[in-house]
């Protein structure tokens, strides 16, 4: 089983936020959207949060990526399953708190079904170089590890290749693979 915690893929490259000598960088909506398009994402099933809210205008304006808002995160996994069975390529974009709420859907609609799923999870509580005090952040890595879901940290546009890496891994393993968005909406 491919299990790997977030710590193994934390941004340790030079220039990353929190790294020595880091410059001011950003994760841009244009960069994320272009990456999702390169992956062939057809639908973004989402509930906006502080970490992914910046994507809204770009997603809304993208004619070739359908935005599918939900009322509660647990709907997203089953909707993504239906889209996948229908031959589409969805991404699920939610916050870590909603991921916790969605446990039974992650199990029943993703882990048990044998299809690839790509998740972008807002990493509430994460702040590069600072101790994690928000329990939403503290429990994210252990919960992902318990589910056997690999995750990659994405903080700025330099991390965009990790989105493609995670997407490819999901396709290859026919399992859910996640990226954690460590960028707070400002």
């Amino acid at each position: 089983m491919a299990t790997q915690g977030v710590t193994a893929v934390r941004s340790d490259r030079p220039g990353a936020p929190g790294a020595p000598g880091a410059a001011e960088t950003a994760l841009t909506a244009a960069g994320v959207l272009a990456t999702l398009k390169r992956c062939g994402i057809s639908h973004v099933v989402w509930l906006p949060d502080s970490e992914a809210g910046f994507l809204y205008e770009a997603l809304r304006a993208a004619p070739d990526v359908a935005l599918v808002p939900v009322c509660r995160e647990g709907e997203a996994m089953a909707i993504a399953l239906g889209l996948t069975v229908a031959g589409k390529r969805p991404a699920v974009v939610i916050q870590n708190t909603g991921f916790f709420e969605s446990g039974d859907s992650v199990r029943g609609a993703m882990l048990d079904t044998g299809f690839p799923f790509f998740l972008m999870i807002g990493y509430r509580g994460w702040k590069a170089g600072a101790p994690m005090t928000d329990s939403a952040g503290v429990y994210t890595d252990p919960v992902l590890t318990a589910w056997g879901i690999r995750a990659y940290l994405v903080e700025d546009d330099g991390d965009l290749p990790r989105i493609e890496q995670a997407y490819r891994e999901a396709q290859d393993s026919a399992r859910p693979v996640a990226v954690l968005i460590g960028r707070e909406y400002r």
Partner: protein
Amino acid sequence: MPYRAALAALERRRREEIVVTTMTSSRVWAHVTQRPELDLSFGGCMGKASSLGLGLALGQPDRRVWVLDGDGSLLMNLGTLVTIAQHAPANLTHFLLENGVYEVTGGQPVPGAGTVDFAAMARAAGYRAAFRFDALDALEAGLERALAAPGPTFVTLVVGPAGALPASPGGPTRPARSTRQALAELRALLATSA
């Protein structure tokens, strides 16, 4: 009305629809279905059959999708009514088998049994049409109209408990499939018929 008779009335009018079932409706539908290759029994995460149906309907807009939900299941995911209404797939019909109980756990009443008007909730959420049938003759008389309405359509079927059924389903012989198998086979079927 009798649970099985209500589903048999649906099956008699089914053509190429994908039918998503859950919990008790999965057990009963297995006795009446004539197109098991287009059936998906989805009980893995209770309450999410309608969400799965929404994803199928959005991904296959030229094919009709029926969801056979339960009242206990829908109560676990009421936000689905708003989510479905917002996306408004014209090819989705959301049936609710309202028996007032959690039948799979022994028949305990669901919250609000007999008082909640689910069709009114669906209409208020924004479904294009909503119907409620509490007798078989009324269902037989009104079902064609409900099925002809542009979706998303909500149809409450007030039924009694399904109770015990014969051990062997009466539909076409087909080896029992896991949900995983059924999902993979339906995906392959939809890919080849696209």
